[in-house]
C-alpha cells in the first residue's frame, strides 16, 4: 500500500443533541464521498444494531473510512466516528472523541441549542478538538438559521457565521460540509518512526478472529506480525490482521501508521485483556508512557439481572462478558437473591443504558431476564465509622447500626420554552429538586437549573419531562456529589414473607406513596392463587400499605363439547406455560414481570 500522506487524513466525529440529524448527516457524508452508491445505502448506515435502527438512536460509536476528492484536486481520507447523543452515553462519546482531531457540531435549525448540544460540545472542547457548527434541517418551515447561528455564537462561543446550512435528509449543502472538514479539521500529528502508541477506543468479539481492537494510532506503525503489548493489562499478542473500517465491514491493509484509525486482531481470546482506554504499544520497542486514556466512568444506576430460567446462569455470564467488551461502561458482579436465585448486580450509566443492555441481552443473546428495581449508590455511614457503598438495597445494615445515609445528587439543566416553565418547576419540586436559578436564552426559551437526587430521576423523569412540556423540554445532568438524606428501606412482604428482590431505598417522605403504588401494582400483577395473599409494604417493622390478592375460587372449563378435547387441552397447556414463568417465593407464585413492574410505578 502506498504511503499515506498524513496531511490528507481527517479524523472527526459528529456531535449533536438527540434527533438533530447526526446519523443522517453521517450517511450523507458516506454517500457523497463515494464509498457507497446511493443504491447501496441502507438508511443510516452507521446505526447497525437492530435496536439502534428501531429506536432511531445511536448507542455504540461506529467508525467508517471514506475517501473524498476535494475541490483542491487532492484526495482526503476521512475517518468518521459516529457518537451517541443521549446523556447516558457520554462515556461512549468521550471514547470516540479521544480518537478524533476535530468535531462537527450539528444543530437543528428550528430547535436551536439543546441541553445535550452543550454537554457534547463542551466534551469535545475538553478533548481539545476543533469544532465547527453545521445548521441542519433548514428545509423545515420553522427553520431560523440566522437565529440559531447567533445562539451558537452567544451561548457556546464558537464562530458560526459561515456555518454550512444543510438538510441532511434531502442531501442539501453536503458539499459545503465536506469542504469544511478539509479546511477546518486539523490533520493528525505523530510520526511513523516513533515507538507504537495507539489508543483502544472500542472492541468487539468475533468468534473466528477473537477480540477485534478498534484503535487510533498516535505514534509509530503497526503491521501484521508486530508483537503488541497492552500497557495496562500487560497482555501481549502477535498482530494477525490490521485494517480499516469500510461501511459495515473490515478491510485489511498492510499497516496502520500514526494518525490513522483502524482495527487490529491478534487471536486474543480473553476479552478482559483489552480494556478500552488502554494503550497498545510494540512489545519489543515500547513507548515510554501510556496515553492518558479515559476518565474511568462510574456506574450510576444498579439493578439485579437474573435469568428467567435458572439453568441459563452461565449463558448470562458469557453474554455480560461479551457485552462489557463492547460497552466498557457496563459492570457487573454475581449476587444471589432468595426470590430469584443466582444472577448479577449490574451497573449502568443511566436508565436508558439499563434498558438498552437488557434489550440487547434478550435479543442478541436470546436470554429471558428478570430485572429488579434500579437503585443508585447510597453511602451508608455506620456508627462504627465504616462507610458502605450500597448498590443493593437488600444489603442495607440494620438501622440501629446506621448513623446516617447519603444519596447522590445531580446538577440538572433543563431547557424549556417559557410556557412550560411552571409545570416543569412543579415536576422538579415533586422530585425533591432544589431550585438553583434560571436564565433566559432568548425571549421564549430558558434554562432551569436544579439540584435533584439521582434516585428521583432514574425511573421516569425523562418521560415525565417530555409529557409535561409536550416534548419541548430537554435535559442534561452531571453528578454533583453526595448529600445527607433521610432515607429508608421499603420492604415488600408477599404472604408475610419479605421478597428481597422487591426491596428498595426511598426518601422517608415519599415512602408511603411509593409503598401504596407498589402494592397496587403487585396486586394487579400477581394472579389469584388457592389462598388469599396479603401484599404489604413495610418500613422496618411498620406496615405502611396493604393490598390483598383474593383467593382463586373458580378455574373450571365447564363445557367440553362433542368429544372435541383439543380446545380444552390448549387451555391447559397455556396454563402450564404460564406457570413456568412464575417464581416461587414461599408458597406464592409470582410472575416474572411483577419484579419489573416496579420500574413503571409512575407511568400512570
Amino acid at each position: 500500500m502506498a504511503h499515506i500522506d498524513k496531511s490528507k487524513i481527517r479524523n472527526f466525529c459528529i456531535v449533536a443533541h438527540i434527533d438533530h440529524g447526526k446519523s443522517t448527516l453521517a450517511d450523507r457524508i458516506i454517500e457523497k464521498t463515494g464509498l457507497l452508491t446511493s443504491r447501496e445505502m441502507q438508511a443510516q448506515v452507521l446505526d447497525n444494531m437492530d435496536l439502534e435502527r428501531e429506536r432511531g438512536i445511536t448507542i455504540k460509536a461506529q467508525s467508517v473510512r471514506t475517501v473524498y476528492k476535494a475541490k483542491d484536486g487532492e484526495e482526503y481520507i476521512f475517518n468518521l466516528i459516529d457518537t451517541p447523543g443521549h446523556v447516558d452515553f457520554n462515556y461512549e462519546v468521550s471514547r470516540s472523541l479521544a480518537a478524533c482531531d476535530g468535531a462537527i457540531l450539528v444543530v437543528d435549525a428550528a430547535q436551536g441549542i439543546e441541553a445535550q448540544t452543550l454537554a457534547n460540545v463542551y466534551l469535545a472542547l475538553d478533548h481539545n478538538l476543533d469544532v465547527f457548527p453545521v445548521i441542519n434541517k433548514i428545509d423545515l418551515p420553522s427553520a431560523e438559521p440566522d437565529r440559531v447561528k447567533e445562539e451558537i455564537e452567544d451561548v457556546i462561543g464558537i464562530e458560526a457565521h459561515d456555518a454550512p446550512l444543510i438538510s441532511a435528509k434531502n442531501g442539501l449543502g453536503i458539499e459545503d460540509v465536506l469542504e469544511a472538514i478539509v479546511a477546518k479539521i486539523p490533520a493528525p500529528g505523530g510520526s511513523d518512526d516513533n515507538p507504537l502508541q495507539a489508543l483502544i477506543f472500542d472492541s468487539i468479539y468475533d468468534s473466528y478472529k477473537g477480540v477485534i481492537i478498534f484503535c487510533r494510532i498516535m505514534e509509530g506503525t503497526v503491521r501484521k506480525g508486530t508483537k503488541i503489548k497492552m500497557m495496562a493489562t500487560g497482555a501481549t499478542a502477535d498482530v494477525v490482521e490490521a485494517g480499516y473500517f469500510g461501511a459495515g465491514q473490515f478491510i485489511p491493509c498492510e499497516e496502520l501508521s500514526a494518525g490513522m484509525v483502524g482495527y487490529l486482531t491478534a487471536s486474543i481470546k480473553n476479552v478482559k485483556d483489552t480494556a478500552v482506554g488502554d494503550t497498545v504499544t510494540d512489545a519489543d520497542r515500547p513507548c515510554k508512557d501510556p496515553l492518558p486514556g479515559y476518565k474511568k466512568v462510574n456506574s450510576m444506576v444498579y439493578c439485579g439481572m437474573y435469568p428467567a430460567d435458572g439453568a441459563k446462569y452461565p449463558d448470562l455470564r458469557d453474554a455480560l462478558e461479551k457485552l462489557q467488551l463492547n460497552d466498557a461502561s457496563l459492570n457487573y458482579e454475581p449476587e444471589t437473591s432468595v426470590a430469584l436465585g443466582f444472577g448479577y448486580r449490574c451497573g449502568f450509566l443511566g436508565l436508558l443504558h439499563l434498558e438498552i443492555i437488557q434489550e440487547r441481552l434478550e435479543r442478541e443473546y436470546n436470554l429471558d431476564l428478570v430485572t429488579t428495581a434500579p437503585s443508585v449508590i447510597y453511602k451508608v455511614h455506620k456508627n462504627n465509622g465504616d462507610v458502605i457503598e450500597l448498590t443493593n438495597p437488600t444489603n442495607l445494615p440494620d438501622p440501629s447500626e446506621i448513623e446516617y445515609m447519603e444519596e447522590p445528587i445531580v446538577s440538572a439543566e433543563i431547557m424549556v420554552t417559557t410556557e412550560y416553565i411552571g409545570s416543569i418547576m412543579e415536576l422538579c419540586q415533586e422530585r425533591r429538586g432544589v431550585y438553583l436559578g434560571m436564565e433566559y436564552m432568548e425571549a421564549t426559551r430558558a434554562t432551569l437549573r436544579y439540584e435533584l437526587p439521582l434516585n428521583e430521576i432514574i425511573y421516569d423523569f425523562f418521560d415525565a419531562l417530555k409529557s409535561r412540556s409536550k416534548g419541548y423540554a430537554s435535559f442534561d445532568y452531571s453528578i454533583k456529589g453526595y448529600s445527607r438524606s433521610d432515607l429508608v428501606k421499603l420492604d415488600i412482604l408477599i404472604n408475610r414473607e419479605e421478597v428481597d428482590a422487591l426491596s428498595f431505598i426511598v426518601h422517608k417522605d415519599t415512602s408511603y406513596e411509593r409503598g401504596r403504588k407498589m402494592c397496587e401494582k403487585l396486586k394487579d400483577e400477581i394472579p389469584r392463587q388457592l389462598f388469599e395473599i396479603p401484599i404489604q409494604a413495610a418500613v422496618g417493622s411498620k406496615v405502611i400499605a396493604r393490598e390483598t390478592v383474593k383467593a382463586m375460587r373458580k378455574d373450571v372449563l365447564a363445557k367440553c363439547y362433542g368429544g372435541d378435547i383439543t380446545r380444552k387441552k390448549k387451555l391447559l397447556e397455556k396454563q402450564k406455560e404460564g406457570k413456568k414463568r412464575m417464581r416461587q417465593v414461599g408458597n406464592v407464585e409470582i410472575p416474572q414481570k411483577a419484579f419489573m413492574s416496579v420500574l413503571k410505578l409512575d407511568s400512570d
Binding site: 388457592l530 373458580k554 378455574d555 373450571v556 372449563l557 365447564a558 378435547i565 396454563q575
Partner: protein, 391 residues
C-alpha cells in the same frame, strides 16, 4: 411392549352425529352451528348419509352402544329426516338392543307429533336445552323459546314415552341473581328429570357476548350486567347443594343424574372410549388416534369423505397419559390407578412424581379405593390441577 393388554373387554363404539343448524344463534354460543337455507339442509343430509355408510363399512366389528345427535339444534330437522338418519345408522352399524340413543332438542322446536315420532324411531333419551326458567333471562341469551314452551315440550316428551330426559340449565347469566337461579333449579326439580346439566356461563371469543362482556368490550349500559363474583359463587355452590339434596349425584364437573341415569355417551369421552363423529366438524377418537372433520360446510359438501378429515394425530404415549388424567379427572369418581398401570405399564406416581402428593397435601385431590379424584374444592379449580398432568 404390552400392546393393548386388557385395553377393553369388548369392542365398543360410540357414535356422534352433528347437526350444525339452528333457527337463531344464541348470543353465548361458539359451537359450530348456523342458520342455513333449506337447500343446504337437504344437501347436508345427503352427504351425512354417505358418510354414515362409508364409516359403517369400516367399523363392522364394533358394537355401538351409544348414539348421540347433537348440534346446533337437531330437532330443527323434520321428524322424518331424523328417523331416516337413525334408521340408516341402526341398519348399517351394529347398534345394540339397549343402546343409549340421545337427541338434543330446543324447546321451541318440539311438537307433540315430532316427539312421538322420534320416540317411535328409537331415540330413547332426550336432552332439552332449557338454560333458565326466567323468560327475561332467556331473551337476553337469544334463546328462541319461553319457559312455558319448555314445560309443554317436557310433558309432551313424557307422554311420548321418553323416560330418560336431561335438562340443561345455566348460571352466571346476564341479569341473573342467585334468587332467580334458585327459582330455575326448583322449577326444574319439580319436573323430576333423570339428568341435569348445570353449566356456568363462559364468555367465549367470537360470540355476541364476547363483544358485550368480553375482555375488550366497551361498557354499554343497555345490557344487563353479569353477576358479581360473589353472586356467581353463590349460584355455583347452590347448584351442588340443591341438586345433591334432591337426590341427584354429581358424577362429572357439570353433570348431575339420578342413580344409573348418567349419560353413557358423555362418560365415554372422559374414559377415552372409542367414538366416531359424523357430520360437519365432528371429532373422533379411535384406538388412540384423534381426528376431526372439516368445519367448512362447502368442503364438507364437496369433498370425498376421506378427504375432509383434518388434524389426524396418532397419540404418543405421553399424550395418552395426559388425556387419561385430565379427562378422567372430570368424573367425580376420578381415575383408576390400576387402570393407568395396566394401560401404560407404569404407575401414576412414577410418571408424575410428587404431583399427586402435592395436591393431596393441599386438599385438592383425594385418594379413595385405588382411585384419584378431585375434592370438592379441587373441582372448583380443576384447570389448575389438570394442567399439572401435562408434560
Amino acid at each position: 411392549m404390552e400392546e393393548k393388554k386388557g385395553c377393553r373387554e369388548q369392542r365398543q363404539l360410540s357414535i356422534y352425529v352433528h347437526i350444525p343448524f339452528c333457527r337463531q344463534k344464541c348470543y353465548y354460543c361458539d359451537f359450530l352451528s348456523a342458520r342455513v337455507q333449506e337447500q343446504t339442509k337437504k344437501d347436508y343430509l345427503i352427504k351425512l348419509k354417505e358418510e354414515i355408510r362409508c364409516a359403517a363399512d369400516k367399523y363392522q366389528d364394533e358394537i355401538a352402544d351409544t348414539v348421540f345427535f347433537g348440534g346446533g339444534t337437531p330437532t330443527l330437522l323434520q321428524a322424518e329426516e331424523l328417523s331416516d338418519l337413525l334408521y340408516l345408522i341402526k341398519t348399517s352399524f351394529h347398534v345394540t338392543e339397549n343402546a343409549e340413543i340421545t337427541i338434543e332438542a330446543n324447546p321451541g322446536t318440539i311438537s307433540r307429533e315430532k316427539l312421538n315420532h322420534l320416540r317411535q324411531a328409537g331415540f330413547n333419551r332426550l336432552s332439552i336445552g332449557l338454560q333458565s326458567t326466567n323468560d327475561r333471562e332467556l331473551k337476553e341469551l337469544g334463546r328462541i323459546h319461553t319457559y312455558d314452551e319448555f314445560v309443554e315440550g317436557y310433558h309432551a316428551a313424557r307422554t311420548a314415552g321418553f323416560d330418560n330426559v336431561n335438562v340443561d340449565v345455566m348460571s352466571a347469566l346476564p341479569g341473573q341473581t342467585s334468587d332467580s337461579y334458585c327459582d330455575t333449579l326448583m322449577k326444574v326439580l319439580a319436573l323430576h328429570p333423570e339428568h341435569i346439566s348445570a353449566y356456568s356461563l363462559i364468555i367465549e371469543e367470537g360470540t355476541l357476548f364476547w363483544d358485550r362482556y368480553g375482555d375488550n368490550a366497551k361498557v354499554l349500559e343497555k345490557y344487563p350486567a353479569l353477576p358479581t363474583e360473589e353472586e356467581e359463587r353463590k349460584m355455583y355452590q347452590m347448584t351442588d347443594t340443591i341438586l345433591e339434596k334432591a337426590g341427584y349425584h354429581r358424577y362429572e364437573i357439570s353433570n348431575y343424574a339420578l342413580k344409573d341415569k348418567e349419560c353413557k355417551h358423555n362418560n365415554g369421552y372422559w374414559e377415552r372410549k372409542n367414538y366416531i363423529g359424523l357430520g360437519l366438524g365432528a371429532s373422533s377418537l379411535y384406538e388412540n388416534t384423534r381426528w376431526k372433520n372439516t368445519d367448512t360446510m362447502e368442503a364438507y359438501l364437496t369433498l370425498a369423505t376421506e378427504q375432509f378429515v383434518c388434524d389426524k394425530t396418532v397419540l404418543k404415549k405421553e399424550e395418552q397419559m395426559e388425556e387419561f388424567m385430565f379427562l378422567g379427572l372430570r368424573l367425580t369418581q376420578g381415575v383408576s390407578m390400576e387402570k393407568f398401570q395396566t394401560e401404560f405399564g407404569r404407575t401414576i406416581q412414577e410418571v408424575y412424581p410428587g404431583i399427586v402428593e402435592k395436591y393431596i397435601g393441599n386438599g385438592l385431590l383425594n385418594v379413595q379405593n385405588e382411585r384419584i379424584l378431585l375434592s370438592k374444592k379441587g373441582i372448583d379449580v380443576s384447570n389448575l390441577v389438570m394442567s399439572e398432568f401435562l408434560f
